[in-house]
């Protein structure tokens, strides 16, 4: 009897999550419907116009999709040189030592800092630096946002990569050493090929984090509704346009913002799914 009750409770508790997820998708789709109907699905995705003028309202998601993809790609690029050494340090060179444990903990701590703190740091420290170095006159822009995003995703990429690097079997490495390989050669020829898909998946998950980051990006990207011309120009990401304009939007604009939310949801879900599949493969191998 007890067992049955326990099972029933578990079942219902477990069912809540899929129901919530389904509800979110349902709400997004119904509310986004009028924007897609008005502009057409593909035109909405490919139009770069975002015009509020009453009567001539025109909303297209391209500038924000571009902004999101640019900040995410740059953040990934900037994050690799920092996360990879940390992963190798913790997972291979100083595996199991105290200093590795300290470094791993500190890196993980970075993940716990609220994004508004990163935003403030970017706004008051990094942005003046960008202006002082004459990289861009207004300081805000895709580059500034990407640099801070990169620091934010380092812990996600580093700690997961380190786990996969640790998992490389010792026999393989010892085999290589016995053949006279140097440490660098072992890493290049043994560790990377074996842990490769695991490392790849950890970066995919880091991308998932960068895609949806809102507060930091809103504070640093400059919030202009145009396709960024270069990495120093201002722009807007999908998350930041929603955060900026949701408060005052209604009717068609509200629906368009929700449609952008739906697209962001789909992109993030897709990327996370790819990451999960890669991890599964890495474990089996």
């Amino acid at each position: 009897m007890n067992d049955k009750l326990y099972k029933a409770i578990l079942f219902f508790a477990a069912m809540v999550m899929p129901i919530v997820c389904g509800g979110v998708v349902y709400a997004l789709v119904t509310d986004a419907h009028s924007a897609f109907e008005h502009f057409g699905f593909f035109r909405f995705l490919t139009s770069s116009e975002w015009n509020y003028t009453e009567g001539a309202e025109q909303y297209g998601a391209l500038p924000f999709i571009t902004g999101t993809l640019m900040t995410t790609a740059l953040a990934l690029l900037f994050c690799i040189p920092f996360s990879m050494p940390v992963a190798l340090f913790v997972g291979e060179y100083f595996k199991g030592t105290k200093i590795a444990a300290v470094l791993a903990t500190v890196t993980d701590l970075l993940a716990g800092i609220p994004s508004i703190i990163y935003g403030l740091w970017g706004f008051y420290t990094l942005r003046p630096l960008i202006m002082a170095l004459d990289i861009s006159p207004q300081g805000s822009g895709v580059l500034t946002a990407s640099l801070v995003l990169a620091i934010m995703i380092v812990p996600y990429a580093a700690s997961l990569s380190a786990e996969f690097i640790k998992m490389v079997p010792n026999d393989l490495k010892e085999g290589a050493y016995s053949l006279g390989a140097t440490r660098a050669e072992v890493i290049r020829k043994v560790v990377f090929p074996v842990a490769g898909s695991g490392i790849f998946s950890s970066y995919i998950l880091a991308i998932g984090r960068a895609l949806g980051e809102t507060m930091t990006v809103t504070m640093l990207i400059g919030n202009t509704n145009n396709i960024p011309e270069s990495i120093t120009s201002t722009g807007n990401s999908m998350a930041s346009i929603i955060a900026n304009q949701f408060g005052e939007a209604d009717d068609l604009r509200l629906s368009s913002l929700i449609a952008i939310g739906l697209v962001l949801f789909l992109i993030t879900a897709l990327i996370n799914m790819v990451g999960k599949i890669m991890i599964k493969r890495a474990r089996i191998a």
């Binding site: 509020y52 706004f123 006159p137 207004q138 805000s140 900026n244 304009q245 408060g247 005052e248 939007a249």
Partner: protein
């Protein structure tokens, strides 16, 4: 159980007790962030006087109006009065009550420039990207005794929809035919150059942090944070600094009976040209969403208190300007038409 159901089914609940000795009520409102510092003080004082508690959400003018339309608040607050079309969208008649006056100021960040003069058409051209440099001939002509740097101007505007943007672009539309044709008036406008930040504090923060920036912010944010702001040439060609006095003068002209009017680009002597009322908006028929009559009375008490000399005296303390007598008079008259179940609340 049946009682609760019955209370939910009828549109108005609660028993109508005598107007004197009513129970303390909880009122809720939402809307503009522009008058928020003023409202915070006034609501607290009102609570001390009447014992009512007012919860206010600074969610933006448009959000407040939407909440009123959804009938989930007792009042909305907005920096832009409702257009005829918006009034029609709401369906039930509403009443606008101006609560105080404020201005939109042009704040800037220029090394060594303590006084900056601007005119309407120059502001329009700066925000349209036609005047690009601080040492542009037209800016130099307005500021003969100032050395302006040979640097690019960085305009800063609002990234969120905003009553402040509405007032600012309403002014630009009046003074610049180019602005009117290309960009127009609205809570969100497609500014072609510069960068944007969220909220008045956001814009003020970006200007304070960015050399050669200029942007528009609610006067109280510039006054309180002591960011330098420009003198602006009004319709008479006088260079006016925004002060509580020069803002109040802007409302000295005709005010329509429902108080819905724009007072930007005022032709009064000594008027600051980008001045505005900010309003609270309530339903004329106070019986909706299960509200009690006491709640309706409390709502009117709040508005009456805001229009009182005691509350208006607070305006300049918190960097706003008091309402002119005419606006108070009209509002009290309008409030007399407010009803509960069709019966005027103030007999």
């Amino acid at each position: 159980m049946t009682w609760a159901l019955a209370a939910m089914l009828v549109s108005c609940g609660g028993s109508a007790s005598k107007e004197s000795g009513r129970e303390p009520q909880e009122l809720s409102g939402a809307g503009a962030t522009f008058p928020l510092p003023f409202y915070n003080v006034v609501f607290e004082k009102f609570g001390q006087v009447k014992g009512d508690f007012v919860a206010y959400g600074g969610i933006g003018s448009g959000g407040g109006v939407r909440n009123l339309r959804d009938k989930i608040v007792d009042f909305a607050a907005s920096d832009a009065f409702l257009s005829d079309k918006e009034m029609a969208d709401i369906k039930n008649p509403v009443i606008h009550v101006p609560t105080c006056m404020g201005a939109v100021v042009l704040a800037y960040n220029l090394d060594g420039v303590e006084k900056l003069n601007l005119s309407g058409d120059v502001i329009a051209d700066i925000f349209a990207g036609e005047i690009k440099m601080w040492n542009d001939a037209r800016l130099v002509a307005l500021n003969p005794n100032v050395t302006l740097p040979e640097e690019a101007i960085i305009p800063v505007f609002r990234s969120d929809g905003s009553g402040t943007t509405f007032v600012f672009t309403d002014y630009l539309t009046k003074v610049s035919p180019m602005w009117k044709e290309k960009y127009g008036t609205g809570k969100s406008v497609n500014f072609p150059v510069g960068q944007a930040a969220k909220g008045n504090p956001g814009v003020a923060g970006v200007i304070a942090q960015t050399k050669n920036a200029i942007g528009y912010v609610g006067s109280e944010y510039a006054f309180a944070q002591k960011i330098p702001y420009a003198q602006i040439a009004n319709q008479r060609g006088e260079l006016v600094k925004p002060t509580p006095a020069s803002i109040s003068i802007a409302a000295s002209g005709e005010i329509p009976a429902d108080t819905r009017c724009s007072i930007t680009n005022s032709d009064a002597e000594g008027a600051y040209p980008i001045s505005t009322f900010t309003w609270m908006i309530i339903y004329k028929e106070q019986c909706y969403s299960n509200r009690s009559k006491e709640q309706a009375i409390a709502t009117l008490d709040l508005l009456k208190y805001i229009l009182s000399d005691e509350a208006q005296a607070i305006t300049s303390e918190v960097h706003y300007a008091p309402l002119p007598a005419k606006a108070k008079e009209l509002s009290l008259k309008n409030l007399k038409t407010v009803t509960y179940e069709g019966v005027a609340i103030w007999q």
